[in-house]
């Protein structure tokens, strides 16, 4: 399992590909991935940039805990979670969750569950920079 909070832009597909190298070839039959990307439009307004804040120390621990729970509960072979913080631009990936398992049900269930838990409990906050002014995002889109 690898869990990281990133301050710089990353390429999610390259991250998965590279992380997968250390896994045993032929051991996994299923990989389910979710990537959340910054859109340039939200709630009716153009968004130029976003500031992503977190609670250093607490957020990492939360992700570790929910990652470990997902591995145990779904018997995952591996799990990768990346989350961006700092100033994010439209089209930048924000969150990446990738789950590896023997069969598809486990990876599908796990990737979605990790995303829902991450969005509902992990201490991240988004502030959108609009053309004029800025606004804190007040709630997440329903899952």
């Amino acid at each position: 399992m690898k869990i990281e909070i990133r301050t710089q832009d990353y390429d999610p597909w390259h991250e998965i590909s590279s992380y997968q190298q250390q896994m045993s070839p032929g051991s996994y039959g299923a990989t389910a991935v979710f990537v959340g990307t910054m859109r340039d439009f939200n709630e009716g307004e153009d968004v130029e940039a976003m500031l992503l804040e977190h609670y250093p120390g607490m957020t990492e621990k939360q992700l570790e805990t929910l990652g470990q729970q997902a591995i145990t509960q779904h018997e995952l072979l591996d799990l990768l979670i990346l989350h961006r913080v700092g100033e994010v631009r439209p089209n930048d990936p924000i969150v990446l969750v990738a789950a590896w398992s023997a069969h598809r049900k486990a990876s599908f269930d796990a990737s979605r569950e990790v995303m829902e838990k991450l969005k509902s409990v992990a201490t991240f906050w988004k502030k959108e920079q609009l053309g004029e002014g800025a606004r804190w995002v007040e709630k997440n889109t329903p899952g």
Binding site: G36, L52, E53, H54, Y55, G57, M58, T59, K61, H83, I94, V95, M115, L118, K119, S120, V121, A122, T123, F124, W125, K126, K127, W136, V137, E138, K139, N140
Partner: protein
């Protein structure tokens, strides 16, 4: 006893600071911590944590605690 209090996101901006260090006589509840640092502002749409875990509002602080107040999370 000393406790550290942190604020995040929109609350940090409203408070105008990142945190406070409080010197208290005896264990108090999280709601009491909030009353002290906010000058009795109502508790609206806030969450709290104690030592980096979500906490209940009636939980008691201990010496050396790291308390945090913040709005609902919006990550992912």
């Amino acid at each position: 006893m000393h406790i550290t209090v942190k604020y995040f996101a929109s609350l940090r901006e409203q408070m105008g600071r990142e945190g406070d260090i409080l010197d208290i006589e005896e264990p108090i509840q999280m709601t009491d911590v909030w009353q002290r640092v906010s000058n009795n502002k109502p508790l609206e749409n806030l969450l709290c944590s104690r030592n980096r875990q979500y906490a209940q509002w009636d939980e008691l602080t201990e010496d050396g605690d790291e308390i945090a107040f913040f709005p609902p999370v919006t990550g992912g």
